[in-house]
Symmetry: C2
Subunit: 199 residues, 2 copies
């Protein structure tokens, strides 16, 4: 930390560099950039940070963040509440909603199983999912990331749900649209072959 800079600037640099993906140099640059902005701009940003949690609740059905409990998706009668799409994080819901191709409801786990980081089923909203399935559900779509932890989490849920009367599916893994077969990694390509569908 540069001792040359005034205390208030150093303080902001310190806070900014604690954010993920922002190193000390970026934090410095951001702080100096903000210093050159009008006071109203600082007020907007500062108050947006301070007010972030205002009016936010967890929907106790799908565990997404929302302005009401249950959330707008869960109370929407136009949506098929017997099809649950299980995702890791809040932003995954945002990404899936953008496709406009899913008309069911969601279940946000808030993480993935990761024994190394001490994350077991109890740290996630997994029991809440089983509860929902027990209440009567047609299909559970496992849409965790196609990463090691995401696959392990999907596998764990699939095993636990096996005895119940519910269809369990996994989002397709294959070549990303616009991707190049030549540059795809082996595992993705292998998935794309195995998961091939009728033309």
């Amino acid at each position: 930390m540069a001792k040359m800079l005034p205390k208030s600037v150093r303080r902001l640099i310190e806070e900014l560099s604690r954010l993920p993906g922002i190193g000390p140099k970026s934090a410095q640059r951001l702080a100096i950039y903000l210093l050159h902005q009008p006071a109203s701009r600082l007020k907007d940003l500062g108050e947006a940070v301070l007010g972030l949690k205002e009016g936010i609740v967890f929907c106790e059905t799908c565990w997404n963040i929302a302005e009401s409990n249950p959330c707008a998706v869960c109370v929407d009668e136009a949506r098929d509440c017997r099809t649950i799409c299980v995702v890791e994080e809040v932003l995954d819901v945002v990404a899936l909603e953008k496709t406009r191709d899913f008309n069911g409801v969601y279940h946000v786990l808030h993480g993935v199983l990761s024994p190394i980081d001490g994350v077991g089923p109890d740290q996630l909203k997994i029991d809440a999912l089983f509860e929902r399935v027990r209440g009567g559900v047609d299909e559970v779509i496992l849409a965790t990331n196609p990463s090691l932890e995401g696959e392990a989490t999907a596998l764990y849920i699939q095993k636990e749900l096996k005895g119940m009367d519910v269809r369990i599916t996994r989002i397709a893994r294959g070549l990303p649209v616009g991707g190049d077969l030549e540059y795809a990694d082996e595992v993705t390509l292998s998935r794309a072959i195995k998961g091939r569908g009728e033309f």
Copy 2:
């Protein structure tokens, strides 16, 4: 902007994505990250933003940001106030101070000449520099960036100072230490050859 997210989250995403180097995706990720932090952490960051300009003044000698006017560097009697190092921005002072190799004083221009962006000498602290030189100075080190605008600004100042009784120098341009001659661009290499010194 994802309509799915609560209003306070959307508001923060909007503010964050206005920052330089932070795109909409990074802003989303940062906002969700902050949402998972304790309230005290949000308070620290928010107040650091709101309080950024508190207690900050410009030193009316060197035009660096400081907690007092004149700043700690300008009033320091151990420093050679007859050697002025001219830099573009506040962070350049921080970088130079880290070297511990400069014992003179600074002059922050707060930008570079850039006709395209409508930045002329009047938008920079250039007149203030000439004033200082007229007051009696031994050496002016032009330490603007070795970019097109930085060079043009250095050239402009050098021309304006020519008539005055002051030594004008330019920071050396050449191979960065640890750099690789093979990968250096032609202009840098050409500068390194032209600026060679006795071994």
